[in-house]
Protein backbone atom coordinates (compact mmCIF):
# COMPACT_ATOMS: atom_id res chain seq x y z
CA UNK A 1 0.00 0.00 0.00
CA UNK A 2 1.39 3.41 -0.94
CA UNK A 3 1.20 5.87 1.94
CA UNK A 4 2.12 9.52 2.37
CA UNK A 5 4.81 10.22 4.95
CA UNK A 6 4.86 14.02 4.87
CA UNK A 7 4.11 16.67 2.26
CA UNK A 8 4.36 20.40 1.56
CA UNK A 9 3.10 22.68 -1.21
CA UNK A 10 5.64 23.75 -3.78
CA UNK A 11 5.28 27.28 -5.17
CA UNK A 12 3.49 26.50 -8.42
CA UNK A 13 0.71 23.91 -8.48
CA UNK A 14 2.59 20.89 -7.15
CA UNK A 15 2.97 19.12 -3.84
CA UNK A 16 6.26 17.69 -2.59
CA UNK A 17 5.12 14.34 -1.24
CA UNK A 18 7.36 11.82 0.49
CA UNK A 19 5.84 8.37 -0.02
CA UNK A 20 6.46 4.87 1.18
CA UNK A 21 5.42 1.40 0.17
CA UNK A 22 4.02 -0.44 3.19
CA UNK A 23 4.13 -4.23 2.97
CA UNK A 24 2.39 -6.02 5.81
CA UNK A 25 2.58 -9.64 6.90
CA UNK A 26 1.08 -11.45 9.87
CA UNK A 27 0.98 -9.45 13.12
CA UNK A 28 1.88 -6.21 11.32
CA UNK A 29 2.34 -4.22 14.53
CA UNK A 30 4.78 -6.62 16.11
CA UNK A 31 7.88 -5.73 14.08
CA UNK A 32 8.78 -2.98 11.64
CA UNK A 33 11.69 -2.64 9.24
CA UNK A 34 12.31 0.64 7.36
CA UNK A 35 14.31 0.62 4.12
CA UNK A 36 15.16 4.19 3.07
CA UNK A 37 17.10 5.62 0.16
CA UNK A 38 17.28 8.62 -2.16
CA UNK A 39 18.53 11.25 0.30
CA UNK A 40 21.10 12.27 -2.29
CA UNK A 41 19.48 12.79 -5.66
CA UNK A 42 22.45 11.48 -7.65
CA UNK A 43 22.59 8.12 -5.82
CA UNK A 44 20.46 5.56 -7.61
CA UNK A 45 21.73 2.17 -6.39
CA UNK A 46 18.93 2.13 -3.81
CA UNK A 47 16.30 2.55 -6.55
CA UNK A 48 16.92 -0.98 -7.75
CA UNK A 49 16.92 -2.34 -4.19
CA UNK A 50 13.60 -0.62 -3.36
CA UNK A 51 11.98 -1.97 -6.52
CA UNK A 52 13.34 -5.51 -6.33
CA UNK A 53 12.82 -5.88 -2.57
CA UNK A 54 9.13 -4.99 -2.93
CA UNK A 55 8.77 -7.74 -5.56
CA UNK A 56 10.67 -10.33 -3.52
CA UNK A 57 8.61 -9.59 -0.40
CA UNK A 58 5.29 -9.75 -2.24
CA UNK A 59 6.22 -13.26 -3.38
CA UNK A 60 7.06 -14.20 0.21
CA UNK A 61 4.04 -12.51 1.78
CA UNK A 62 2.77 -15.75 3.46
CA UNK A 63 6.12 -16.01 5.25
CA UNK A 64 6.23 -12.37 6.29
CA UNK A 65 5.63 -11.25 9.86
CA UNK A 66 5.44 -7.60 10.80
CA UNK A 67 5.70 -4.59 8.49
CA UNK A 68 8.29 -3.50 5.95
CA UNK A 69 8.18 0.16 4.93
CA UNK A 70 10.15 1.04 1.80
CA UNK A 71 10.94 4.76 1.32
CA UNK A 72 12.50 4.95 -2.15
CA UNK A 73 12.98 8.72 -2.35
CA UNK A 74 13.59 10.98 0.64
CA UNK A 75 14.65 13.70 -1.83
CA UNK A 76 12.34 13.36 -4.85
CA UNK A 77 13.23 16.81 -6.21
CA UNK A 78 16.94 15.95 -6.19
CA UNK A 79 16.30 12.70 -8.06
CA UNK A 80 14.15 14.47 -10.65
CA UNK A 81 16.80 17.13 -11.29
CA UNK A 82 19.88 14.84 -11.22
CA UNK A 83 21.04 16.91 -8.28
CA UNK A 84 22.71 15.54 -5.17
CA UNK A 85 21.35 18.17 -2.82
CA UNK A 86 18.03 19.84 -2.20
CA UNK A 87 17.17 22.10 -5.16
CA UNK A 88 17.26 25.76 -4.13
CA UNK A 89 18.78 25.04 -0.72
CA UNK A 90 22.40 25.23 0.48
CA UNK A 91 22.50 22.46 3.04
CA UNK A 92 22.91 18.77 2.22
CA UNK A 93 19.75 16.83 3.15
CA UNK A 94 21.83 14.53 5.34
CA UNK A 95 22.85 17.57 7.44
CA UNK A 96 19.39 18.78 8.48
CA UNK A 97 18.05 15.87 10.53
CA UNK A 98 16.18 15.54 12.88
CA UNK A 99 14.51 18.47 11.11
CA UNK A 100 12.32 21.20 12.55
CA UNK A 101 8.87 22.67 12.15
CA UNK A 102 10.26 26.16 12.89
CA UNK A 103 12.62 26.60 9.94
CA UNK A 104 12.39 25.85 6.22
CA UNK A 105 10.29 23.46 4.14
CA UNK A 106 13.09 20.93 3.84
CA UNK A 107 13.64 20.86 7.60
CA UNK A 108 9.89 20.39 8.03
CA UNK A 109 10.02 17.45 5.59
CA UNK A 110 13.04 15.99 7.40
CA UNK A 111 11.12 16.20 10.67
CA UNK A 112 8.18 14.33 9.17
CA UNK A 113 10.47 11.59 7.87
CA UNK A 114 12.10 11.07 11.28
CA UNK A 115 8.72 10.96 12.99
CA UNK A 116 7.52 8.31 10.58
CA UNK A 117 10.57 6.03 10.84
CA UNK A 118 11.21 6.41 14.60
CA UNK A 119 10.18 3.36 16.56
CA UNK A 120 11.05 0.86 13.81
CA UNK A 121 13.00 -2.20 14.96
CA UNK A 122 15.62 -1.46 12.32
CA UNK A 123 16.23 1.13 9.61
CA UNK A 124 18.56 0.56 6.66
CA UNK A 125 19.62 3.80 4.93
CA UNK A 126 20.99 2.97 1.48
CA UNK A 127 23.46 5.31 -0.19
CA UNK A 128 25.45 4.91 -3.35
CA UNK A 129 28.70 6.74 -3.52
CA UNK A 130 28.63 10.03 -5.41
CA UNK A 131 29.38 10.27 -9.13
CA UNK A 132 33.12 10.49 -8.44
CA UNK A 133 33.86 7.27 -6.56
CA UNK A 134 32.96 3.60 -6.80
CA UNK A 135 32.56 1.73 -3.50
CA UNK A 136 32.41 -1.95 -2.60
CA UNK A 137 29.26 -2.89 -0.65
CA UNK A 138 29.85 -1.68 2.89
CA UNK A 139 28.15 -0.63 6.09
CA UNK A 140 29.35 2.54 7.82
CA UNK A 141 28.87 2.73 11.55
CA UNK A 142 29.60 5.61 13.90
CA UNK A 143 31.81 4.33 16.73
CA UNK A 144 29.32 5.68 19.27
CA UNK A 145 26.65 3.23 18.19
CA UNK A 146 28.95 0.36 17.15
CA UNK A 147 28.03 -1.86 20.06
CA UNK A 148 24.31 -1.69 19.23
CA UNK A 149 24.71 -2.02 15.45
CA UNK A 150 27.58 -4.42 14.75
CA UNK A 151 25.70 -7.65 15.62
CA UNK A 152 22.92 -6.90 13.10
CA UNK A 153 25.22 -5.37 10.48
CA UNK A 154 27.09 -8.65 10.18
CA UNK A 155 24.01 -10.28 8.63
CA UNK A 156 23.62 -7.63 5.93
CA UNK A 157 25.81 -9.53 3.44
CA UNK A 158 28.07 -6.54 2.81
CA UNK A 159 31.80 -7.03 2.19
CA UNK A 160 33.03 -4.53 4.71
CA UNK A 161 31.90 -2.87 7.97
CA UNK A 162 33.66 0.44 8.52
CA UNK A 163 33.50 1.72 12.09
CA UNK A 164 34.38 5.40 11.77
CA UNK A 165 35.08 8.08 14.36
CA UNK A 166 32.39 10.43 15.60
CA UNK A 167 32.38 13.96 14.17
CA UNK A 168 30.06 16.67 15.45
CA UNK A 169 28.94 17.56 11.94
CA UNK A 170 27.64 14.01 11.46
CA UNK A 171 25.17 14.53 14.29
CA UNK A 172 22.73 15.94 11.77
CA UNK A 173 22.52 12.81 9.61
CA UNK A 174 19.41 10.65 9.37
CA UNK A 175 21.27 7.68 10.87
CA UNK A 176 22.67 9.59 13.84
CA UNK A 177 19.28 11.14 14.58
CA UNK A 178 17.47 7.79 14.46
CA UNK A 179 20.15 5.97 16.44
CA UNK A 180 19.97 8.61 19.16
CA UNK A 181 16.19 8.14 19.28
CA UNK A 182 16.82 4.43 19.91
CA UNK A 183 15.91 3.30 16.38
CA UNK A 184 18.88 1.20 15.19
CA UNK A 185 19.93 2.49 11.77
CA UNK A 186 22.55 1.01 9.46
CA UNK A 187 24.07 3.08 6.66
CA UNK A 188 24.90 1.14 3.48
CA UNK A 189 27.27 2.59 0.87
CA UNK A 190 27.78 0.77 -2.41
CA UNK A 191 28.41 1.29 -6.09
CA UNK A 192 28.63 4.67 -7.75
CA UNK A 193 26.44 7.72 -8.33
CA UNK A 194 24.06 7.97 -11.30
CA UNK A 195 24.33 4.25 -12.06
CA UNK A 196 22.84 0.96 -10.87
CA UNK A 197 25.08 -2.01 -10.10
CA UNK A 198 22.59 -4.89 -10.16
CA UNK A 199 24.93 -7.45 -8.55
CA UNK A 200 25.44 -5.17 -5.50
CA UNK A 201 21.69 -4.61 -5.24
CA UNK A 202 20.98 -8.34 -5.30
CA UNK A 203 23.71 -8.91 -2.71
CA UNK A 204 22.08 -6.36 -0.39
CA UNK A 205 18.62 -7.87 -0.87
CA UNK A 206 19.97 -11.24 0.29
CA UNK A 207 21.39 -9.40 3.30
CA UNK A 208 18.08 -7.69 4.05
CA UNK A 209 16.27 -11.07 3.94
CA UNK A 210 18.92 -12.49 6.24
CA UNK A 211 18.49 -9.65 8.75
CA UNK A 212 14.71 -10.11 8.54
CA UNK A 213 15.12 -13.77 9.51
CA UNK A 214 17.23 -12.67 12.46
CA UNK A 215 14.47 -10.26 13.51
CA UNK A 216 11.88 -13.09 13.14
CA UNK A 217 10.21 -11.18 10.30
CA UNK A 218 10.58 -14.02 7.77
CA UNK A 219 9.55 -17.56 8.60
CA UNK A 220 12.27 -19.18 6.58
CA UNK A 221 15.85 -20.07 7.30
CA UNK A 222 18.37 -17.26 7.08
CA UNK A 223 19.99 -17.18 3.61
CA UNK A 224 23.72 -17.82 3.97
CA UNK A 225 25.84 -14.68 4.07
CA UNK A 226 29.60 -14.28 4.05
CA UNK A 227 31.10 -12.65 7.16
CA UNK A 228 32.28 -9.10 6.42
CA UNK A 229 35.66 -7.56 7.14
CA UNK A 230 35.25 -5.29 10.16
CA UNK A 231 37.60 -2.35 10.27
CA UNK A 232 38.20 0.99 11.94
CA UNK A 233 39.64 4.24 10.52
CA UNK A 234 43.14 3.04 11.40
CA UNK A 235 43.08 0.37 8.69
CA UNK A 236 42.01 2.70 5.90
CA UNK A 237 44.60 4.52 3.77
CA UNK A 238 43.57 7.44 1.57
CA UNK A 239 45.06 8.41 -1.79
CA UNK A 240 44.37 11.96 -2.98
CA UNK A 241 45.57 13.62 -6.15
CA UNK A 242 48.18 16.32 -5.67
CA UNK A 243 47.80 17.65 -9.20
CA UNK A 244 44.78 18.47 -11.36
CA UNK A 245 44.12 16.73 -14.65
CA UNK A 246 42.56 13.54 -15.99
CA UNK A 247 42.76 10.36 -13.92
CA UNK A 248 43.78 7.26 -15.85
CA UNK A 249 43.49 4.18 -13.57
CA UNK A 250 46.07 1.39 -13.74
CA UNK A 251 44.14 -0.92 -11.37
CA UNK A 252 40.58 -2.18 -11.10
CA UNK A 253 38.08 -1.61 -8.33
CA UNK A 254 38.01 -4.43 -5.73
CA UNK A 255 41.54 -5.44 -6.72
CA UNK A 256 44.23 -6.26 -4.15
CA UNK A 257 47.38 -4.15 -4.46
CA UNK A 258 50.85 -4.11 -2.97
CA UNK A 259 52.39 -1.16 -1.18
CA UNK A 260 54.05 1.09 -3.76
CA UNK A 261 52.07 -0.33 -6.69
CA UNK A 262 51.06 2.18 -9.38
CA UNK A 263 47.33 2.95 -8.99
CA UNK A 264 47.04 5.41 -11.84
CA UNK A 265 48.20 8.59 -13.52
CA UNK A 266 47.06 12.18 -13.58
CA UNK A 267 47.32 12.91 -17.27
CA UNK A 268 47.69 16.29 -18.96
CA UNK A 269 45.90 15.98 -22.33
CA UNK A 270 47.06 19.46 -23.36
CA UNK A 271 50.74 18.51 -23.38
CA UNK A 272 50.59 14.72 -23.52
CA UNK A 273 52.47 14.68 -20.22
CA UNK A 274 51.93 13.01 -16.87
CA UNK A 275 51.35 15.43 -13.99
CA UNK A 276 51.45 12.81 -11.23
CA UNK A 277 51.91 9.09 -10.67
CA UNK A 278 49.86 7.74 -7.79
CA UNK A 279 51.18 4.78 -5.80
CA UNK A 280 49.49 2.75 -3.12
CA UNK A 281 50.53 3.74 0.41
CA UNK A 282 49.65 0.24 1.72
CA UNK A 283 49.04 -3.33 0.68
CA UNK A 284 45.37 -4.20 0.70
CA UNK A 285 42.02 -4.04 -1.03
CA UNK A 286 40.96 -1.09 -3.19
CA UNK A 287 37.49 -0.59 -1.77
CA UNK A 288 37.05 2.92 -3.16
CA UNK A 289 38.25 3.93 -6.62
CA UNK A 290 37.89 7.15 -8.58
CA UNK A 291 35.28 6.76 -11.32
CA UNK A 292 34.99 10.32 -12.63
CA UNK A 293 38.07 11.21 -14.69
CA UNK A 294 38.37 14.95 -14.08
CA UNK A 295 40.27 15.62 -10.86
CA UNK A 296 41.38 18.72 -9.02
CA UNK A 297 44.27 18.87 -6.62
CA UNK A 298 42.99 17.04 -3.54
CA UNK A 299 40.38 14.89 -5.28
CA UNK A 300 40.04 11.47 -3.65
CA UNK A 301 41.45 8.76 -5.91
CA UNK A 302 41.28 5.60 -3.82
CA UNK A 303 40.87 4.15 -0.37
CA UNK A 304 42.83 1.04 0.53
CA UNK A 305 41.79 -1.36 3.25
CA UNK A 306 45.09 -2.61 4.64
CA UNK A 307 46.05 -5.48 6.92
CA UNK A 308 45.63 -9.22 6.65
CA UNK A 309 42.84 -10.01 4.22
Amino acid sequence: MIEEVVSAHLPVGETLRIQKNRIEGAEPKKRRLAIVTGTHGDELEGQYVAWQLARVLKKRQPLLRGTVDIYPALNPLGISTIYRGLPGFDLDMNRIFPGSSEETMYEYIAGGIIEDIAGADLCIDIHASNIFLREIPQVRINEQSAEMLLPLAKFLNMNFLWVHSAATVLESTLAYSLNSLGTPTLVVEMGVGMRITKSYGDQLITGILSVMSQLFMLEEPCPPVAPPIVSTDGNVAFVNANASGIFIPRVRHEERVEEGQLLGLIADPLSGGVREELHSPASGLIFTLREYPVVNEGSLIARILGGAL
Binding site: L91, I96, S101, V169, G298, S299
Partner: protein
Protein backbone atom coordinates in the same frame (compact mmCIF):
# COMPACT_ATOMS: atom_id res chain seq x y z
CA UNK B 1 50.14 48.16 2.36
CA UNK B 2 51.87 44.95 1.37
CA UNK B 3 50.15 42.52 -0.94
CA UNK B 4 51.19 38.89 -0.62
CA UNK B 5 50.03 35.87 -2.57
CA UNK B 6 48.75 33.56 0.18
CA UNK B 7 48.35 30.63 -2.18
CA UNK B 8 47.16 29.89 -5.68
CA UNK B 9 44.16 27.81 -6.69
CA UNK B 10 45.48 25.47 -9.31
CA UNK B 11 43.34 23.34 -11.62
CA UNK B 12 45.52 23.12 -14.67
CA UNK B 13 45.61 22.28 -17.55
CA UNK B 14 42.27 23.92 -18.36
CA UNK B 15 42.00 26.59 -15.68
CA UNK B 16 44.86 28.98 -15.06
CA UNK B 17 46.32 29.39 -11.55
CA UNK B 18 44.30 31.92 -9.53
CA UNK B 19 46.09 33.91 -6.82
CA UNK B 20 44.45 34.47 -3.45
CA UNK B 21 45.87 37.73 -2.10
CA UNK B 22 46.26 38.97 1.42
CA UNK B 23 46.57 42.73 1.95
CA UNK B 24 48.66 43.53 5.03
CA UNK B 25 48.69 46.85 6.89
CA UNK B 26 50.61 48.19 9.90
CA UNK B 27 53.01 46.05 11.92
CA UNK B 28 53.77 42.31 11.92
CA UNK B 29 51.44 41.91 14.90
CA UNK B 30 48.39 39.72 14.25
CA UNK B 31 45.74 42.13 15.46
CA UNK B 32 42.75 41.83 13.17
CA UNK B 33 41.98 39.82 10.02
CA UNK B 34 39.04 40.29 7.69
CA UNK B 35 37.84 37.50 5.38
CA UNK B 36 35.76 38.60 2.40
CA UNK B 37 34.06 36.29 -0.11
CA UNK B 38 34.54 32.53 0.18
CA UNK B 39 31.55 31.56 -1.97
CA UNK B 40 31.15 32.35 -5.64
CA UNK B 41 28.15 34.65 -5.28
CA UNK B 42 29.40 36.75 -2.40
CA UNK B 43 29.96 39.83 -4.54
CA UNK B 44 28.87 42.23 -1.83
CA UNK B 45 31.29 40.61 0.64
CA UNK B 46 34.17 40.87 -1.84
CA UNK B 47 33.32 44.50 -2.62
CA UNK B 48 33.06 45.42 1.07
CA UNK B 49 36.51 43.92 1.73
CA UNK B 50 37.88 45.66 -1.36
CA UNK B 51 36.59 49.01 -0.08
CA UNK B 52 38.27 48.26 3.23
CA UNK B 53 41.58 47.65 1.41
CA UNK B 54 41.15 51.01 -0.31
CA UNK B 55 40.38 52.85 2.96
CA UNK B 56 43.16 51.19 4.95
CA UNK B 57 45.70 51.92 2.19
CA UNK B 58 44.80 55.59 2.44
CA UNK B 59 44.73 55.64 6.27
CA UNK B 60 48.10 53.89 6.48
CA UNK B 61 49.66 56.42 4.08
CA UNK B 62 48.25 59.22 6.27
CA UNK B 63 49.85 57.62 9.37
CA UNK B 64 46.54 56.95 11.04
CA UNK B 65 47.15 53.31 11.90
CA UNK B 66 48.73 53.58 15.35
CA UNK B 67 50.40 51.40 17.93
CA UNK B 68 51.66 47.89 17.34
CA UNK B 69 48.77 46.93 15.12
CA UNK B 70 48.84 44.56 12.15
CA UNK B 71 45.85 44.07 9.86
CA UNK B 72 45.08 41.54 7.13
CA UNK B 73 42.28 41.70 4.56
CA UNK B 74 41.56 38.82 2.16
CA UNK B 75 38.98 40.19 -0.27
CA UNK B 76 38.21 36.91 -2.02
CA UNK B 77 39.02 33.20 -1.98
CA UNK B 78 36.05 32.20 -4.13
CA UNK B 79 37.36 33.25 -7.56
CA UNK B 80 37.32 29.72 -8.94
CA UNK B 81 33.55 29.55 -8.41
CA UNK B 82 32.89 33.23 -9.11
CA UNK B 83 34.37 33.09 -12.61
CA UNK B 84 31.96 30.30 -13.58
CA UNK B 85 28.83 31.61 -11.80
CA UNK B 86 28.68 28.98 -9.08
CA UNK B 87 28.13 29.54 -5.37
CA UNK B 88 30.15 26.45 -4.38
CA UNK B 89 33.14 24.48 -5.65
CA UNK B 90 32.26 23.79 -9.30
CA UNK B 91 33.42 20.18 -9.55
CA UNK B 92 31.60 18.66 -6.57
CA UNK B 93 29.40 21.51 -5.29
CA UNK B 94 31.01 21.47 -1.85
CA UNK B 95 31.06 24.62 0.27
CA UNK B 96 34.51 25.76 1.49
CA UNK B 97 32.78 27.40 4.46
CA UNK B 98 31.66 23.94 5.61
CA UNK B 99 35.22 22.53 5.52
CA UNK B 100 36.98 24.40 8.32
CA UNK B 101 39.46 24.00 9.95
CA UNK B 102 40.43 22.18 6.73
CA UNK B 103 42.93 19.43 6.11
CA UNK B 104 46.09 19.85 4.04
CA UNK B 105 46.04 16.24 2.79
CA UNK B 106 42.29 16.01 2.23
CA UNK B 107 39.81 16.79 -0.54
CA UNK B 108 40.16 19.92 -2.69
CA UNK B 109 37.89 22.17 -0.62
CA UNK B 110 39.37 20.85 2.65
CA UNK B 111 42.80 21.85 1.34
CA UNK B 112 41.57 25.31 0.37
CA UNK B 113 39.92 25.79 3.77
CA UNK B 114 43.20 24.73 5.39
CA UNK B 115 45.19 27.29 3.36
CA UNK B 116 42.73 30.06 4.18
CA UNK B 117 42.79 29.08 7.85
CA UNK B 118 46.60 29.00 7.93
CA UNK B 119 46.57 32.66 6.83
CA UNK B 120 43.85 33.67 9.30
CA UNK B 121 44.92 31.75 12.40
CA UNK B 122 46.49 33.48 15.38
CA UNK B 123 44.85 36.90 15.00
CA UNK B 124 43.33 38.47 18.12
CA UNK B 125 40.22 39.55 16.22
CA UNK B 126 38.59 38.00 13.16
CA UNK B 127 35.77 39.30 11.00
CA UNK B 128 34.10 37.16 8.36
CA UNK B 129 31.92 38.96 5.82
CA UNK B 130 29.49 36.19 5.10
CA UNK B 131 26.10 35.21 3.74
CA UNK B 132 23.27 33.04 5.03
CA UNK B 133 22.17 29.69 3.62
CA UNK B 134 18.81 31.26 2.83
CA UNK B 135 18.64 34.11 0.33
CA UNK B 136 17.20 37.21 1.86
CA UNK B 137 17.72 40.78 3.03
CA UNK B 138 19.03 41.54 6.51
CA UNK B 139 19.35 44.55 8.67
CA UNK B 140 23.18 44.84 8.76
CA UNK B 141 24.39 43.15 11.92
CA UNK B 142 27.18 41.39 13.74
CA UNK B 143 26.68 37.75 14.57
CA UNK B 144 28.58 35.91 17.27
CA UNK B 145 28.54 32.18 17.70
CA UNK B 146 27.83 31.32 21.31
CA UNK B 147 30.56 28.75 21.92
CA UNK B 148 31.40 29.81 25.46
CA UNK B 149 34.71 31.36 24.33
CA UNK B 150 33.24 34.52 22.88
CA UNK B 151 33.21 38.11 24.21
CA UNK B 152 29.76 39.37 23.32
CA UNK B 153 30.34 42.95 24.48
CA UNK B 154 32.98 43.60 21.79
CA UNK B 155 30.31 43.06 19.15
CA UNK B 156 28.80 46.37 20.25
CA UNK B 157 31.92 48.25 19.12
CA UNK B 158 30.96 48.05 15.43
CA UNK B 159 28.06 50.43 15.94
CA UNK B 160 25.77 48.37 13.70
CA UNK B 161 22.08 48.27 14.62
CA UNK B 162 22.11 44.73 15.99
CA UNK B 163 24.31 42.09 17.56
CA UNK B 164 22.87 38.59 17.25
CA UNK B 165 24.19 35.69 19.30
CA UNK B 166 23.59 32.21 18.02
CA UNK B 167 23.90 28.79 19.63
CA UNK B 168 25.80 26.67 17.09
CA UNK B 169 24.05 23.75 15.40
CA UNK B 170 26.00 20.66 14.24
CA UNK B 171 26.27 22.11 10.71
CA UNK B 172 27.86 25.28 12.13
CA UNK B 173 30.84 23.40 13.53
CA UNK B 174 32.65 23.34 10.19
CA UNK B 175 32.33 27.07 9.45
CA UNK B 176 35.18 29.57 9.60
CA UNK B 177 33.50 31.50 12.41
CA UNK B 178 33.20 28.49 14.70
CA UNK B 179 36.73 27.19 14.13
CA UNK B 180 38.33 30.62 14.32
CA UNK B 181 36.82 30.94 17.79
CA UNK B 182 37.96 27.48 18.82
CA UNK B 183 41.50 28.56 17.81
CA UNK B 184 41.09 31.53 20.19
CA UNK B 185 40.43 34.38 17.77
CA UNK B 186 37.60 36.67 18.87
CA UNK B 187 35.37 36.18 15.86
CA UNK B 188 32.51 38.15 14.38
CA UNK B 189 30.41 37.43 11.33
CA UNK B 190 29.36 40.64 9.63
CA UNK B 191 26.18 40.44 7.58
CA UNK B 192 25.41 43.23 5.17
CA UNK B 193 22.13 43.71 3.38
CA UNK B 194 23.01 41.91 0.16
CA UNK B 195 24.97 38.94 -1.15
CA UNK B 196 24.77 38.43 -4.91
CA UNK B 197 24.36 42.08 -5.85
CA UNK B 198 26.25 45.19 -4.83
CA UNK B 199 24.48 47.47 -2.37
CA UNK B 200 26.74 50.51 -2.16
CA UNK B 201 25.16 52.01 0.96
CA UNK B 202 25.30 48.77 2.89
CA UNK B 203 28.91 48.11 1.80
CA UNK B 204 29.92 51.57 3.03
CA UNK B 205 28.11 50.97 6.31
CA UNK B 206 29.99 47.68 6.79
CA UNK B 207 33.39 49.23 5.95
CA UNK B 208 32.70 52.11 8.35
CA UNK B 209 31.72 49.66 11.07
CA UNK B 210 35.06 47.85 10.83
CA UNK B 211 36.97 51.15 10.93
CA UNK B 212 34.82 52.16 13.93
CA UNK B 213 35.75 48.90 15.68
CA UNK B 214 39.45 49.59 15.04
CA UNK B 215 39.08 53.18 16.30
CA UNK B 216 37.28 52.13 19.49
CA UNK B 217 40.05 49.62 20.18
CA UNK B 218 42.74 52.29 19.75
CA UNK B 219 44.25 51.10 16.46
CA UNK B 220 43.15 54.09 14.34
CA UNK B 221 43.22 57.76 15.22
CA UNK B 222 41.59 60.87 13.78
CA UNK B 223 39.37 59.01 11.36
CA UNK B 224 36.14 60.87 10.78
CA UNK B 225 33.34 58.31 10.75
CA UNK B 226 29.58 58.47 11.04
CA UNK B 227 28.52 58.12 14.67
CA UNK B 228 27.20 54.57 14.38
CA UNK B 229 24.18 53.21 16.18
CA UNK B 230 23.59 52.12 19.72
CA UNK B 231 23.79 48.39 19.07
CA UNK B 232 20.99 46.28 20.44
CA UNK B 233 22.02 42.75 21.45
CA UNK B 234 19.49 40.03 20.68
CA UNK B 235 19.76 36.28 21.10
CA UNK B 236 18.75 34.47 17.94
CA UNK B 237 16.30 32.37 19.92
CA UNK B 238 14.35 35.54 20.77
CA UNK B 239 13.78 36.40 17.11
CA UNK B 240 10.21 35.71 16.02
CA UNK B 241 10.06 33.46 12.97
CA UNK B 242 7.16 34.04 10.60
CA UNK B 243 6.39 31.13 8.29
CA UNK B 244 3.90 30.46 5.53
CA UNK B 245 1.54 27.52 5.05
CA UNK B 246 0.77 28.01 1.32
CA UNK B 247 3.12 27.96 -1.65
CA UNK B 248 2.88 30.61 -4.38
CA UNK B 249 4.15 34.00 -5.51
CA UNK B 250 5.61 35.99 -2.62
CA UNK B 251 4.72 39.69 -2.60
CA UNK B 252 6.30 41.70 0.20
CA UNK B 253 4.34 44.61 1.65
CA UNK B 254 6.99 46.00 4.02
CA UNK B 255 10.77 46.20 3.48
CA UNK B 256 13.50 45.09 5.90
CA UNK B 257 13.98 47.45 8.88
CA UNK B 258 10.29 48.43 8.94
CA UNK B 259 8.53 48.82 12.26
CA UNK B 260 5.34 46.75 12.06
CA UNK B 261 2.30 46.42 14.29
CA UNK B 262 0.69 43.25 15.63
CA UNK B 263 -1.70 41.87 13.02
CA UNK B 264 -0.35 44.02 10.19
CA UNK B 265 -0.11 42.33 6.77
CA UNK B 266 3.59 42.24 5.84
CA UNK B 267 3.42 39.96 2.77
CA UNK B 268 0.94 38.06 0.65
CA UNK B 269 1.21 34.65 -0.90
CA UNK B 270 -0.58 34.89 -4.22
CA UNK B 271 -2.00 32.12 -6.39
CA UNK B 272 0.34 31.71 -9.37
CA UNK B 273 -2.61 31.02 -11.74
CA UNK B 274 -5.20 33.58 -10.65
CA UNK B 275 -3.37 36.26 -8.61
CA UNK B 276 -5.85 35.82 -5.77
CA UNK B 277 -4.39 36.02 -2.29
CA UNK B 278 -3.92 32.52 -0.84
CA UNK B 279 -2.43 33.62 2.44
CA UNK B 280 -1.92 36.90 4.26
CA UNK B 281 1.33 36.88 6.20
CA UNK B 282 0.73 38.97 9.32
CA UNK B 283 3.08 40.15 12.01
CA UNK B 284 2.17 38.15 15.12
CA UNK B 285 3.37 41.00 17.33
CA UNK B 286 4.87 44.49 17.20
CA UNK B 287 8.47 44.57 16.06
CA UNK B 288 11.11 45.35 13.45
CA UNK B 289 11.61 43.26 10.31
CA UNK B 290 15.11 41.88 10.74
CA UNK B 291 15.21 39.38 7.86
CA UNK B 292 13.01 39.05 4.80
CA UNK B 293 13.30 36.17 2.34
CA UNK B 294 14.36 37.27 -1.10
CA UNK B 295 12.30 35.05 -3.40
CA UNK B 296 9.79 35.54 -6.18
CA UNK B 297 8.06 32.22 -5.58
CA UNK B 298 8.09 30.33 -2.33
CA UNK B 299 7.27 26.84 -1.09
CA UNK B 300 5.09 26.22 1.94
CA UNK B 301 6.39 25.70 5.50
CA UNK B 302 9.31 28.09 5.09
CA UNK B 303 10.71 31.10 6.91
CA UNK B 304 9.41 34.30 5.27
CA UNK B 305 10.48 36.81 7.94
CA UNK B 306 12.34 37.10 11.18
CA UNK B 307 11.15 39.84 13.47
CA UNK B 308 12.88 41.54 16.38
CA UNK B 309 10.11 41.94 18.93
CA UNK B 310 9.39 45.28 20.60
Amino acid sequence: MKRKTLFTIDAQPYRQPIPVYGYFFGSEEKTLAVMGAIRGDEFQQMYTAAKLVQELTRLEAEGKIIGDCGLLVIPCAGQFSMNVSRRFWPLDNTDINRMFPGYDKGETTQRLAWRIFEALKGYTYGIHLTSLYLSGDFIPHIRIMDTGWQENAEGLDFGLPYLITRKPRPYDTTTLNYNWQVWETRTFSLYTKATDFIDEKSAQEATDSILRFLTRHGFLKDVPLPEGEATQAVSEKNLVTIRNTCGGILLHCRPTSSQVQAGEIIANIVDPYTATVLEEIRAPQKGTIFFARHAQIIAAQTIVFRLIPG
